[in-house]
Amino acid sequence: MNRKLLWAINLTILLLLAVSVTISYRYLYPAKSIMLSCSSELYDSSDPLNGARHYLLVDIMAKAQQAQINYRYFNLDGTSAGTIRMQGQLNDYDEAANRFDFSVYTKEESLDERLDSRPQHMQYLSYVSSFNLDSKGMHNLSIESLDLDSHRDYAVVLFQPSNTVCGCRLVH
């Protein structure tokens, strides 16, 4: 094998390694960050006569590898009905699907002293996340953009595996 061919092979290997390392770095350390704020009206369909109605504010923040999701529940009069704070990491960002994958490792809950006013949605979220954290040690979820209007800073996203659609404001 002549010397030129050997050099060509060496340079090719070097180039392939450089490309591979670059792709791996981008894959392992997605530079994408996200900050969403979503507000919702909550209704307890099983108790319509008592006007079981609450508001929910969800703040989602992910930067570098850190992720935080805060659920804040409010009564109609604006007083707090409880909060759930989840902390974890951003595992992946799928650019083709515009989807963020998270793993939540810790959760803090603070409840209103009057347990009867605890929103059903909060009970539901608390149960599902606790179940996953207790059994698997983590609560995995993904957020996928279904309808994005970056000019007006709005996005409709789909949470999985809960299969929840939600319209959110993009925060910069």
């Binding site: 392939l16 209704y43 369909s45 083709a96 409709v156 789909l158 595996p161 319209g167």
Partner: protein, 259 residues
């Protein structure tokens, strides 16, 4: 003339190893010794005969003959060196009759030695080719997994476009994790579509619906415009009962989806 793995051109005095493709132009002593051994193959040939003088050359000394035998054996290699046998006190014998049988018996050893004979540069070539192939496969796999040009966003399970009395159109999209067992979601979408159809007009252009995987939470997201501003409204209905009743006339009147 075939000698084990070697081909001997008697006329040119050229010995070629067919495995390594190595060629050896025999010096006079080796050429003469091998030629005479071939002429008397499978017979004992004394040193004096092997080193006899010819018309052009003087006789070879015993040590020259011994050295020529050594060189020939070296070139034949460990597999075929036995072809030239030393008969103590008498001379040498080139064994051609039994060589093929012995060669069969030595085939395993032969294969191993054949591998050993591949020189370092060949091993390097093979190693480089293997490394390059491996890296290319890894990079290609990684590239395919990261550079996917097809959009993989989740498609709605069902979608319908409603036309209101004013001619305004509203798109209603339902999202489900499975393509089966969506009876409740379909019924809820129909119920909601009936309600929106009765609106003369509405600020909402798109309606997104989903039912949680355990069918405990029904989510409605309305997307539209009011006074040139983008607006979103999220409604989440929770019902833990066995028989679900997410949408009622009273609730629809309360939330007033037309506004």
């Amino acid at each position: 003339m075939q000698l084990g793995d070697c081909l001997f051109d008697v006329q040119k005095g050229l010995l070629t190893h067919q495995v390594t493709q190595e060629q050896w132009q025999l010096p006079r002593a080796e050429w003469q010794v091998l030629r005479i051994l071939l002429e008397h193959h499978d017979q004992v040939v004394p040193k004096q005969v092997l080193g006899a003088a010819d018309a052009e050359h003087p006789p070879l000394s015993d040590s020259s003959v011994t050295r020529a035998i050594f060189m020939l054996r070296s070139f034949l290699g460990p597999v075929d060196e036995h072809l030239i046998e030393t008969v103590k006190g008498k001379g040498y014998r080139l064994k051609l009759a039994s060589s093929s049988a012995k060669k069969r018996g030595l085939s395993a050893r032969y294969n191993w030695i054949k591998w050993q004979r591949i020189d370092v540069s060949t091993w390097m070539k093979m190693l480089i080719a293997l490394v390059v192939t491996l890296i290319m496969v890894l990079v290609l796999g990684q590239w395919l997994s990261t550079v996917n040009l097809e959009t993989q966003t989740t498609a709605p399970f069902a979608q319908q476009t409603l036309t209101l009395e004013s001619g305004q159109q509203v798109t209603l999209s339902s999202f489900a994790t499975s393509k089966t067992n969506n009876t409740l979601l379909i019924a809820l979408a129909e119920r909601l579509a009936d309600d929106i159809k009765h609106c003369e007009s509405t600020p909402w252009r798109k309606v997104f619906l989903s039912l949680s995987h355990d069918k405990q939470v029904f989510n409605i997201t309305l997307r539209g415009e009011k006074l040139g501003q983008s607006v979103v409204r999220n409604l989440k209905l929770t019902d833990f009962r066995q028989s679900k009743a997410f949408l009622t006339d009273a609730w629809l009147a309360e939330v007033s989806l037309c506004e």
